[in-house]
Amino acid sequence: MDAEAERQFREFVVARSPALMKLAFLLSHGDQHRAEDLLQVSLAKTAARWRSVDDPERYVRTVLHREQISWWRRWGRRKETVTDTPGEVASADRTVEVDLRLAVRTAMGRLTDRQRAILVLRYFEDLPDNEVARLMGCSVGTVRSTAHRSLAKLRKLSPELAELTGLSTTTDSRR
């Protein structure tokens, strides 16, 4: 990487890192440390191919998803992972919706990495299903059925969520 390319890369990181960090953070289920690792690795890979990348933002986002998926595919399933249960957040003057959002966060921790990634791509990134399918390396049908099952599971895991009405019409009509 020459000096000019390095300058461009640094400018890109400064401009886009807040948005990219948010995505890495959600893909890491709120683990700041893991999110920083994930984003650093993805940026390092982007730097390595800086000259040939036309759309750096799209490239980093693609690498972020693939790194997250491939790393957990290879190592996350091995059994030495130590897990523990996050402590209960002390309740104070919460509004109903704040309670519901906390319930969503907790329940999302019980989803698989793939289920969570599909929800992030659909509802945070607002990507159409064919783009989600491309990133996840599966069919559009699998994206839709996984999203549907993931929402159903959230509802099942949290009694508060079970009382919500069904999905909005956009869920099943996305392309």
């Binding site: 890192s17 959600l26 940026l43 919706e97 698989t112």
Partner: protein, 394 residues
Amino acid sequence: MELDTLVRRTLREWADEARVPAGLADAALRRRRRRVRWAWLSVELAAAVTGMALIAVNLLVPHEKDAQPGWWTPALAQPVVARNAAGNDLRADLRSPPRRLVTAGRAALSAYRVGPEWYMYDPPTGGYRLVPWAYVNVAKGLGRAAVLAGPLPTERIGIYDMTARRMLGWVPLSQPAATVAWSPDARRLLATHYRRVESQDGMGQGRIGFRGGFTVVDLVSGRTRFRNLPGPVASYPNALRWSMDGGLIWVPPTMADESKRFYTLDGSPAQAPEGEASLGEEAGLSPDRRLVATNHRGFDMNGKPAGQGPLTAVADVRTDQIIATQPVEQLIAWADPQNLVALNCAPYCDSPKGGEFHNRFVLVSLDGRSIRPLTGFRQNSQDPDAWQPYFTLR
């Protein structure tokens, strides 16, 4: 409000809690340069004389103890073998999870975990039994288990005689540990330590923080040695493991460092034994060390055509040439030089309901032509409540 709207709002609010670290561009560029340097250093290490003292990167804090401390008893020094688990026969139980001992050649399903609950092989009945510990590791021979009582991390390791169903003793540790692993010869233990993070509200139990180091316990002499080896948070699978002959230990790759790092039992960096640095399949080297199970190539996320199905391979260690492939998802353990325990999703691999995660354990021959089921199917192996197996040599 609809649930998808709530999920959207939750994700946006949650994402705002992400902190952008300072110097991100510098860190990414440094990481890229470091990868190049590590590749160069690996070549240098390969040329170095085996056993030579290498660059010490960590501060070592030895806690040597003299032989036969107060906790030690002669019973701890004696390996126990479960006779009814011995042999090299094939025993399948197609229930999911299995209820009778599952074996294939030299490998046996010694325990499985369902969420936080552990089920361990029970020699008196020949089945599996729910045990009250938070972490379990069964020794070669399926006669003894090292156990950690919750909440993790904890400052002692229990040694349990599975054949007599009794606790043989407890080994005290100088630091809290969250995992423990038997050495291949079943005479030593490797405990991985993690910091304990107390809960903020004072009501919950402590949580597991960053990796701090490890302790090697020699059950024959009673000697324990603690070494610092800092690492990432426990949400990574970063517990230390033994090399194949028990002479070294290694740290699994992280996203930041995609290599297995080997260390001596003193915590100094060491060269990987031939074939053991492979990042391929969990089964690793064959019993004769001539072949290595390599990366699976199915379900590739990086541009391979979809729908070709799962595929693993076995390569020659010396030439790196693939000598055989198998139509399975993962190679878990070598049963004998011609057969491996594997994870297989067929016939559900292409099914939208479950796909690759709808799978069972099988015995696959090296040439992939023979596939014999060992267990029943798990409908979604990624579900936190799906049973997770642990295979041990018998």
